[in-house]
């Protein structure tokens, strides 16, 4: 990988190109042109994946160019976004009306490109823009193609509240800019002691909290999830969350010293307390409210909130220099988000597949007796829900193991360490509460007599294929977590092992960029 920007950005360019083409083709008059966007979208995602795979993780040193930073984190996020994105496309396969196919698939691709660019952003302005690039297409996706009044309402609510959060985010960024005097993330060495930094961080965290549906910015989630079509809801559980968590990681890295990662993050006490309270509240509110629902979509919406809380726990534990995967909160979070995205998508794919009372299944009653009517769909739902619960041998089990063990064995000094342990205990109690409603879903499928004669919608090979992919991924990761764990550890190695100066001096890039580490190194010397 050398410094040619077009080469470096090839995966994003492919996806965006695919999106533009899909949008144009969707306008075509002939039926052939109208059905093309689906295949085109899938093809461009595959192509982008292959290109990313071919490039491989970043070389010894991360490359910084044009406000972007090409490192292992970006590599990992690109890979997982594209792989889950392919499953998302499959689950959407039959959703849109033929006339809207171009719009829907283009929006998915735009959002996907937004995630990839977020992982690359090394500049506050670019970071803000890319996060919005992820969000804005999702506002459209929520209400597109649904004459249902609830979908329109959901889309509108989502948009207005999203705007509010964007305002918070950009307001926070402005404080950070004021404190640092630059928008380049690598050059913004912020001292955790500064007042502006604290205010800026808190506001920015609040803005991001909306994207990941963390309390108290979670209120929209249930209405929006319920209002949107099931496949779109599956997408909402992954796309904005990835972008939000990547932004959080980037913000947290602003304050790390060069010998970072000794024991967790270096951040203002206020920011730590803020994230701690948000994590605890998110887990608890999500599960407690989930327990009260009878609508499966709302139930999964609250579960989605709760899972953001678990991921915040891992993120707060942060990377630790020594110890191993069970102590590394950063890789635990990166591991968790993929697993969550897949299992959540799988559960919503089942809801999209099953028809009851002549409409897609939504209420618990709609699923009663599914085990007998549609054994395969019920099995897939059970796999996804057990994974959400964290039962072995599904992927969710190891995801939870890594998250909570990172929080418990983090070993941060003093009250940091202790409060993380408390947080882990809160999380474990919450996992138990969550089992209450997850098991209700499975029990309804298998133990109750049918109420509404659920049947799988015929001629939906796309959803079925996507669902199969989700289930296989859940089981494979559950049996062999090592592969994904290795990938999710790449960013950690990238950060914990500063590149050797020698490799930098003979670098091939036309514009030798300074890495974070070297900036710090210079500072240390001066």
């Amino acid at each position: 990988m050398n410094g040619d920007l077009f080469t470096l950005l090839a995966p994003e360019l492919i996806v965006i190109g695919g999106a533009v083409l899909a949008l144009l083709l969707g306008l075509g008059a002939s039926p052939g042109a109208r059905s093309a966007p689906r295949a085109l979208a899938l093809l461009s995602v595959f192509a982008a994946f292959l290109v990313t795979w071919y490039y491989g993780p970043s070389p010894a040193k991360p490359l910084e160019l044009a406000g972007m930073r090409f490192d292992s984190l970006a590599y990992y996020i690109r890979l997982i976004a594209l792989s889950v994105g392919a499953l998302v496309l499959l689950v959407h396969w039959h959703l849109p009306h033929p006339a809207e196919r171009g719009d829907v698939f283009a929006m998915i691709l735009f959002s996907l490109a937004g995630i990839m660019l977020t992982s690359l952003a090394n500049d506050l302005v670019l970071l803000f823009l890319t996060i919005e690039l992820v969000s804005i297409p999702t506002y459209i996706l929520v209400s597109i193609g649904r004459s249902d009044i609830r979908a329109q309402e959901a889309g509108l609510k989502y948009f207005f509240l999203g705007t509010l959060s964007a305002a918070l985010l950009v307001y926070g960024f402005s404080f950070l800019y004021g404190a640092a005097g630059t928008t380049n993330l690598s050059r913004m060495q912020l001292s955790p002691a500064g007042g502006f930094v604290t205010i800026g961080l808190l506001l920015a965290f609040a803005g991001v909290a909306f994207k990941i549906a963390a309390a108290p910015f979670h209120v929209y989630a249930a209405d929006v999830y319920q209002g949107a079509a099931a496949p779109v809801t599956g997408l909402l559980g992954f796309f904005p969350k990835v972008a939000g968590f990547v932004a959080l990681i980037k913000l947290l890295f602003l304050m790390q010293p060069s010998d970072l990662l000794t024991a967790g993050w270096n951040m203002p006490g206020a920011a730590f307390v803020f994230l701690w309270v948000v994590a605890a509240a998110t887990m608890t509110l999500g599960n407690v409210l989930g327990l009260m629902q009878t609508n499966v979509k709302r139930m999964l919406a609250y579960s989605s909130i709760a899972h953001s809380g678990y991921m915040l726990v891992a993120l707060l534990a942060g990377p630790v220099a020594s110890g191993g995967p069970l102590r590394d909160g950063l890789s635990a979070m990166l591991f968790y988000i993929v697993v969550y995205g897949i299992m959540n998508l799988g559960a919503f794919a089942v809801l999209a597949l099953i028809q009851a009372r002549g409409r897609p299944a939504e209420e618990l009653d709609d699923l009663a007796g599914l085990g007998r009517r549609e054994p395969l769909a019920a099995l897939a739902l059970a796999i996804c829900v057990f994974s959400l619960m964290g039962l072995p041998p599904t992927a969710g089990f190891f995801a939870k193991v890594y998250v909570f063990s990172a929080a418990i064995s983090n070993g941060a000094a003093g009250w940091h360490g202790l409060s993380l342990i408390v947080l882990a205990v809160i999380g474990l109690i919450n996992s138990a509460i969550a089992a209450g409603y997850y098991l209700r879903i499975v029990a309804t499928c298998y133990l109750r007599e049918p109420v509404a004669e659920p049947i799988a919608e015929p001629r939906t090979a796309g959803i079925r294929l996507g669902l199969l992919g989700c289930c296989i991924a859940i089981l494979v990761i559950g049996v062999w977590p090592g592969g994904l764990l290795y990938m999710s550890r790449l960013p950690f190695y990238d950060l914990s092992a500063p590149p050797a100066v020698a490799t930098h001096s003979n670098a091939q890039s036309p514009e030798p960029a300074e890495t974070t580490e070297q900036v710090y190194a210079k500072e240390m010397n001066s």
Binding site: L161, L164, G269, L291, M292, G324, I433, L485
Partner: protein
């Protein structure tokens, strides 16, 4: 030494992952498509899967047998890594790895071979003929099954075409799952994977015992098996935990202390009491799984499952897992002489105890179950007296003749519509000629009749037991006589004498799918012993000498046992222990004597048997009621538990439930309180977001101030 799969070093052994995977694939196919598409053809994927696994097992056997010293396969401590599993520490990964040596190869061939025959046999066994009227008095599965299923019962059309039983797909899916689990258990290269396979076979056993779950007896038996096994497995898990805790400091960098090669190479660094603790805890698991005293009680009840399941899981394969494990962990056990002595004692006592119970039973399958417990006792006796190769040899031959006997009993049961009580029928030799012939062969092998497989293997164990301690040897001999007696008591009661057929049944010889496995197993019951002997002038009967190719093949694996034996009695004496054929003649005569006694009592002078019963009524009652162990357990353990649990239940209802209700009310009340915020109005959402943010900032400010 660690070799990854897929490398050329592993050679033919690259076939190993296929052994568990193919049956799993078959099971998954049946599980996913069985009820919809495959239906009556559900046996095919599983049979093909197991057949593939058998081929792979033979490839492995060939590769191990032809391994050259110096190559990975030629070294005893080679571990084959499939993939890294998960990691508790930096650099330390628990792998999914396999240990492949002579013992593994023998076990794989046995497991897959028997499984294949049983799966083929089940194709016909798990079908019912619609015209038969179900009048099973004792409630055998087939009869009860049809009673439980109104569809099959009410379908009294005239044709004789057998139809698949209800749950036919489920049955084959479980069988495939079992073969997968058992092969994982056998192939495992570390204790974690072993434990996983161990629990998985237990689960399959539970599911298959409870196959006719509509019948309360079957459901109760399944539960009993599961619970009793939990006791053993708890100890087993604890043993593995101690291994991990105590061996971790000694494991080389980056190697898991639970890998066999690491554990066996470093175990000597522990104190003797630690090794003994670990060995006894591991043996605790074996006692549960292999149904030894005092945890044997589940196995007789497990006969509530279909007969092929009894043959496969509860006779030939799963129950021998304990023996396999103890032999595999030789390095641990030989360093704990106390534990080994306990193994030998438990084995000997169980062998005798179960044999005496079998003498006074009337249910064919239960007689065979007690016989299995007794034979497993022999195997543990063998391991305990350091004749591990003989124990595995007996495991190997026993798999053939005991599976044969169970399948034969199943064939009788199938013919008699579920009746298996020996008091209700007799003289079936003309009605079921093939079943009769093969059953007699199996019975001769079990009884230790000279020149059949059971004779050679059992004799070796008795021989080794005598060399160890005369008491153990004597128990072995007494058990041998009893074995011959109860086996032929069963044979004569079922097949000899005047023909007695229960009213309402139309016995008929089973179909080809059932008879072919019977004949093949009969061949095995005769011939399997000959892989363990070699021809030599001046041997037993002038030409047979024990300890043949089988033992030489197994020698590298049982090296710890052999070395300990040599160290204890000296090389000369250890060699001499194999010499001499006096004992072989004695045990041959005793077996024949046992058969003759059974012949006299149950063919010639049936009144003598009755008189004997009446002469010793107490002894008969005690044996017939299995020493009242079930009643004793009931009175000593189950009742008190039940009573105390009733008290606790009362407490639970009032106190704990109240607490739980209160605790679970907290989330609900909280939810109720926050719910109004979720009223769907956009403005209030904005307000609650802002207010929430304000509250959190307040908290942050308060905390930061302190």
């Amino acid at each position: 030494m660690m070799v990854p799969f897929g490398s050329t070093e592993a050679g033919m052994l690259n076939a190993a992952p296929l052994v568990p995977l193919l049956p799993l694939l078959g099971a998954a196919l049946v599980g996913l498509l069985g009820t919809r598409m495959l239906k009556g053809a559900s046996h095919w994927p599983v049979i093909i899967g197991i057949a593939g696994a058998l081929v792979a097992s033979f490839l492995i056997l060939g590769a191990v047998a032809s391994a050259q010293p110096g190559t990975p396969a030629g070294q005893p401590d080679t571990t084959y890594r499939l993939f890294s599993w998960f990691s508790p520490l930096e650099g330390l990964w628990f792998d999914v790895n396999f240990c492949i040596d002579a013992l593994t190869a023998i076990m794989l061939v046995t497991v897959c071979g028997i499984s294949l025959l049983v799966a083929i046999y089940s194709r016909d066994y798990m079908r019912v003929t619609e015209t038969e009227t179900p009048e099973g008095h004792e409630g055998g599965p087939s009869a009860a099954e049809r009673l439980a299923d109104p569809h099959v019962h009410g379908h009294q059309s005239g044709h004789h075409q057998p139809v698949p039983e209800r749950g036919y797909e489920r049955y084959f899916a479980f069988i495939g799952l079992f073969v997968f689990s058992m092969c994982t258990l056998v192939l495992a290269g570390n204790f974690l994977l072993l434990y996983l396979g161990w629990e998985a076979v237990g689960l399959c056993s539970y599911l298959l015992i409870g196959f006719y779950y509509q019948r309360p007896a079957a459901a109760a038996a399944a539960k009993k098996a599961f619970l009793v096994n939990r006791i053993g497995d708890f100890g087993f898990g604890l043993g593995i935990l101690f291994l991990y805790l105590w061996l971790s400091p000694w494991a080389p960098d980056g190697r898991s202390p639970l890998d066999y090669d690491v554990a066996f190479a470093t175990i000597h660094r522990l104190d003797t009491w630690q090794i003994t603790t670990i060995a006894l805890l591991l043996f605790c698991g074996a006692v549960g799984k292999s149904a030894q005293l005092p945890l044997y009680v589940w196995l007789p009840d497990a006969m509530e499952g279909p007969s092929p399941v009894s043959a496969l899981i509860h006779a030939a394969t799963m129950v021998t897992a304990g023996v396999y494990m103890v032999v595999r962990c030789g390095e641990i056990f030989v360093q704990a002489p106390v534990a080994l002595a306990i193994v030998a004692a438990v084995g000997a006592v169980t062998a005798l105890f179960a044999a005496t119970i079998a003498v006074a039973q009337y249910d064919m399958k239960r007689i065979l179950a007690y016989s299995t417990i007794s034979q497993l006792g022999y195997m543990f006796l063998g391991v305990g007296v350091l004749a591990a190769d003989s124990a595995i040899f007996h495991l190997f031959t026993h798999a053939f003749f005991k599976a044969l006997l169970f399948l034969g009993a199943g064939s009788v049961m199938h013919a008699l519509a579920g009746i298996i009580d020996l008091r209700q029928f007799g003289g079936l030799r003309r009605v079921l000629p093939v079943t009769y012939a093969t059953f007699v062969i199996g019975a001769l092998a079990l009884a230790g009749f000279p020149l059949l497989s059971g004779f050679f293997s059992k004799d070796e164990i008795i021989h080794a037991a005598f060399a160890h301690h005369p008491v153990l040897g004597t128990i072995g001999l007494i058990t041998a006589v009893l074995t011959a007696f109860y086996t032929f008591r069963m044979v004569f009661m079922a097949f000899a004498g005047p023909e007695r057929i229960p009213a309402g049944t139309h016995p008929h010889e089973s179909g080809r799918w059932m008879l072919v496995p019977l004949v093949l197993l009969a061949v095995g019951a005769v011939g399997a012993g000959y892989v363990g002997v070699h021809m030599k002038a001046g041997g037993f009967l002038g030409f047979i000498e024990p300890h043949g190719p089988f033992h030489r093949f197994l020698a590298p694996v049982v090296e710890p046992y052999a070395a300990t034996l040599h160290a204890r009695v000296g090389h000369e004496a250890a060699g001499a222990a194999h010499e001499g054929h006096v004992l072989m003649y004695i045990s041959a005569l005793l077996a024949i004597a046992g058969i003759l006694v059974a012949y006299v009592l149950y063919v010639r002078r049936r009144d003598w048997a009755k008189q004997a019963r009446e002469a010793f009524p107490v002894a008969y009652q005690v044996l017939h009621n299995k020493y009242y162990v079930d009643e004793l357990n009931d009175a000593a353990i189950v009742r008190p538990l039940w009573d105390s649990s009733r008290v606790l239940f009362g407490v639970d209802r009032i106190v704990v439930d109240g607490l739980v209700w209160a605790v679970s009310a907290v989330p609900r009340v909280m939810g109720f309180l926050v719910r109004p915020l979720q009223n769907g109005a956009l403005q209030s959402y904005g307000v609650s977001m802002t207010a929430g943010m304000a509250v959190i900032v307040l908290i942050v400010w308060l905390v930061s101030r302190t």
